[in-house]
């Protein structure tokens, strides 16, 4: 497969993300599929930050393995990333800052010293302009015309006249320097891929999917890696008519969302594991009051504060066990940026159809990394329907039962402001009308029966949700020698690994459990019983999805690939494990 990967590294504040994102944008605008992965730390200045931008005319799902251009803004970048340079690749650095010895790069990798600071000084005194030079160098190496880069810079810096002019000149100087001293890489991409692609992060896709599904209210407290959902929605709040409320804490955030949903609008909150831990009590209240609610839980490495800027899938068991007592809940684990859009939209539909909380479990890797997409990947959704579905009774009429016991467990929902349908929503146990049975009535035989009936009513939704939703899908070769099993963002590097395995002559497939709860146990048994061999792959220590499958079906996973070091899976890691498990020697 033809592909090219640029890696850029330096300290926080060096503008690494800008260089990386600009290059991703250049790729998608030229019609290539792209993937942009950020490695950063919990500091505002200093430390080590890097960005990998990968492009290909074919679909790619992850950051891939290795790079072809390493643009190093500091010595540490060379030390950490030079070993990932592939044969034919090139290391770009400024000899004014530090020197590089030939043995610091792998065999068949070239070294291209570029006086980025010196070239930049011709146009401005700010050292940050070295990145203008650097972007020009990278464009030339990738075989892309300068005009595309200039177009992107004009859009992003158009309002800053002088800065734009400096960047245009600096990037041209860099572009010319690379052409004169190096030319293009052997792996350079053709001048045009296909039609232009969208470039989007998982969080942006979540926000878009939410609005497409009718989101009118977001309440959120900032927490990495969920924060950019609020950023995007806040910037679009006026044009899309969405109230975006930064709450004082996560307890307020979820309670506000429940209040807004109760008042008759589609509402969402978003957080990471630590914030979700604070939301747990209200999460159960959404189920008890049968208020539709969507919670985005974008996981990061735990426990506790853990690694705030590193990825993990360690919260599945918390999400499944969150809050006291038992109630129906749905957990979705989207496996790509496009799925993040579609699954978030589906979350709203499920929450509303079943009047219970739905969690969209993302993680730092999916939420913050960017992927190139086609417009068709994000289907237009029908205009969301009004929530006023219960007709107002004639004058003087009553008898409305908000929590009426029905075969599906779902009761017609009235909205405050509707005449004649007044009711109380309560976190206490209540009867069909909403009247408390927790105080003076609890324990009295008739109300012991009410309690059982109301529990049955709510819990009944779970089997309804299971029947109304699709079982997990098998992706890749069929038949296969080995079936990988996972959930959420793991699907992304797995898809790239399946392609690599095919190239190695290994028929493998992947059972993507995009809805960990309620689990489609029978369907999973059917698939896995006929699998020759399985490999459970999860980004956590204990194989949490595997435990759920075992508990629900009795199936066990003798072979596992579990990663909990904060870094995402790399396709080649998965390939290596499959080779080992299938008894091959890794070439």
């Amino acid at each position: 497969m033809q592909e090219l990967a640029l890696r850029v590294g330096g300290a926080a504040g060096d503008g690494i993300a800008t260089v990386g994102e600009t290059f991703c944008r250049l790729l998608t605008r030229q019609g290539f599929y792209a993937f942009g992965h950020t490695g950063y730390q919990s500091v505002i200045r200093g430390g080590h930050v890097w960005f990998q931008a990968r492009g290909s005319p074919e679909r790619i799902w992850s950051q891939g393995d290795g790079c072809d251009v390493l643009y190093a803004l500091d010595r540490q970048t060379v030390e950490v990333h030079a070993p990932t340079l592939r044969p034919g690749g090139v290391l770009v650095f400024d000899p004014e800052k530090f020197s590089v010895l030939p043995d610091q790069v792998p065999p068949k990798v070239k070294i291209l010293p570029v006086p980025t600071l010196q070239l930049a000084r011709k146009f401005a005194s700010e050292p940050i302009l070295q990145n203008g030079v650097g972007m020009g160098v990278v464009s030339a190496l990738a075989g892309q015309p300068l005009s595309v880069l200039h177009g992107i810079l004009t859009e992003s810096l158009g309002r800053k006249g002088a800065v734009l002019a400096q960047n245009l000149s600096a990037s041209e100087a860099g572009f010319r320097y690379a052409k004169e001293h190096f030319g293009a890489l052997d792996r350079a991409l053709p001048e045009k891929g296909g039609s232009p692609k969208l470039l989007m992060s998982g969080n942006q896709a979540i926000a878009l999917g939410a609005v497409a599904a009718g989101l009118k209210f977001l309440s959120q407290y900032p927490m990495t890696p969920a924060t950019s959902i609020m950023h995007w929605l806040a910037a679009h709040a006026e044009s899309f008519h969405v109230v975006v409320k930064q709450a004082e804490d996560e307890l307020a955030a979820i309670n506000m969302a429940i209040g807004a949903s109760h008042a008759g609008v589609r509402a969402m909150t978003a957080t990471s594991g630590g914030g979700f831990a604070l939301m747990v009590e209200a999460f159960g209240m959404a189920a008890m009051t049968e208020t539709p609610l969507v919670v985005v839980e974008s996981q990061r490495s735990g426990p506790s504060t853990g690694l705030p800027t590193k990825t993990e899938q360690g919260d599945l068991q918390m999400i499944l066990g969150a809050s006291q007592g038992e109630f129906p809940r749905v957990v979705l684990g989207p496996g790509s940026v496009a799925e993040a859009y579609r699954e978030t939209a589906r979350a709203f539909q499920l929450a509303e159809d079943w009047q219970t909380p739905v969690v969209v479990a993302s993680d730092l890797y999916l939420s913050e990394d960017v992927q190139g997409l086609d417009r068709e990947d994000l289907p237009t959704l029908p205009t969301p329907a009004s929530l006023f579905t219960v007709p107002e009774p004639p004058e003087g009429g009553n008898g409305y039962l908000r929590y009426r016991d029905t075969p599906s467990g779902v009761s017609p929902r009235a909205i405050p402001g509707q005449r004649g349908l007044m009711f109380d929503a309560g976190s206490d146990e209540h009867d069909e009308s909403g009247r408390l049975v927790s105080d003076v009535l609890s324990g009295i035989p008739a109300y012991v029966e009410v309690r059982r009936k109301m529990m049955d009513k709510r819990m009944r939704k779970l089997s309804g949700i299971r029947s109304a939703t699709n079982p997990p899908t098998l992706e890749g070769s069929d038949p296969a020698e080995i079936t990988l099993v996972g959930w959420g963002s793991t699907a992304m590097p797995v898809r790239d690994a399946l392609a690599l395995l095919k190239g190695q002559g290994v028929a493998a497939n992947y059972l993507h459990v995009a809805q960990p709860w309620p689990l489609h146990g029978e369907a999973i048994v059917q698939v896995l019983r006929s699998a020759k061999r399985t490999l459970l792959i999860e980004q956590n220590f204990s194989g949490q999805l595997g435990r759920v499958i075992t508990a629900e079906t009795g199936l066990r996973f003798p072979d596992t690939l579990l990663k909990y070091d904060g870094e995402p899976f790399y396709p080649w890691e998965i390939v290596t494990k499959v080779m080992e498990v299938t008894g091959r020697v890794h070439r």
């Binding site: 969208l198 044009s239 109230v243 209040g259 007044m422």
Partner: protein
């Protein structure tokens, strides 16, 4: 047709509880304001007083301990045309939920918050509350009595930016109803702190205790537009305790300033992307 605000559900408070006075005053206020019951939402947390929504035939949300204010915030921000009244106790609003109370005040949401302040935890059978008097012996402070200074809710409300700050007493439901009418009418956050004695677990701050101490601010010519005078009055405690309207100010509400609400309540707005907008354009 006569408008009915009360539900068929009988209040479950102890006989003689101060909360009956609050219930009566609230009903009087609703009647005086002629509010349609279906346009009222009563929101509460957990505690004896938080059962109040069940005794009214309006919309009600009986949520979690300390979290009534954020639920009310969500309801009000979704549909500002509703009259949202939060009801709860001192433990709910000044203890576990104090943070939310202060933030709602600084936002100046158009909410009315009635705190039935009995200086004790009643439903959990008599522990110290954030407003318990220094030295008060309770089940959680049996040896030394309370050794932490009580919260001063009215002084806090003033400093937090509440635009309507009042105190009432369950022994005077007429005054309370009048303050509630003003508070509900007030465009902005209205705190009505009510001395609502617990007859079962608080034998210090009783009806008689308050009856012998309270005086009305209007009887001494207090100017409720003067924040400094108001603050001085909030510090009065002991033999003479003021009730009435401490402070009132005009300031835009949060809802007024929220751009997404310009076209009216959210439930009546269209949802999804506006038809003339391509939301994907910016991603190319």
């Amino acid at each position: 047709m006569k408008v009915v605000y009360k539900s068929q559900t009988k209040a479950t408070w102890c006989p003689g509880c101060g909360d009956y006075g609050v219930m009566a005053a609230l009903e009087m206020a609703f009647k005086a304001l002629k509010l349609p019951p279906h346009e009222i939402v009563l929101v509460s947390g957990i505690g004896c007083s938080s059962n109040l929504p069940h005794f009214f035939k309006t919309y009600g949300f009986h949520g979690l301990h300390g979290r009534a204010v954020p639920v009310a915030t969500g309801i009000k921000l979704a549909n500002p045309s509703l009259t949202v009244v939060v009801a709860g106790g001192d433990g709910d609003g000044y203890g576990i939920g104090l943070g939310h109370s202060l933030h709602a005040m600084r936002r100046n949401l158009d909410l009315t918050y009635v705190v039935m302040d009995n200086e004790i935890y009643g439903l959990t059978t008599g522990q110290a509350s954030p407003t318990s008097t220094l030295g008060a012996k309770t089940k959680s402070t049996p040896l030394t009595g309370v050794i932490e200074a009580p919260v001063n809710p009215l002084a806090l409300a003033l400093s937090a930016g509440a635009t309507f700050v009042a105190r009432a007493f369950s022994g005077d439901p007429k005054q309370m109803a009048d303050l509630l009418v003003q508070g509900i009418r007030h465009k902005g956050f209205a705190l009505v702190d009510v001395f609502s004695p617990c007859v079962t677990y608080n034998h210090l701050n009783t009806f008689d205790y308050f009856r012998s101490r309270v005086y009305k601010l209007e009887s001494v010519g207090h100017d409720p537009t003067d924040p400094v005078a108001a603050f001085r009055r909030t510090l009065e405690w002991g033999e003479r305790i003021p009730t009435g309207l401490f402070y009132r100010a005009e300031r835009p509400t949060y809802e007024d300033l929220e751009p997404a609400l310009k076209d009216g309540p959210l439930p009546h707005q269209r949802a999804g992307f506006p038809p003339d907008v391509d939301p994907l354009k910016e991603f190319y």
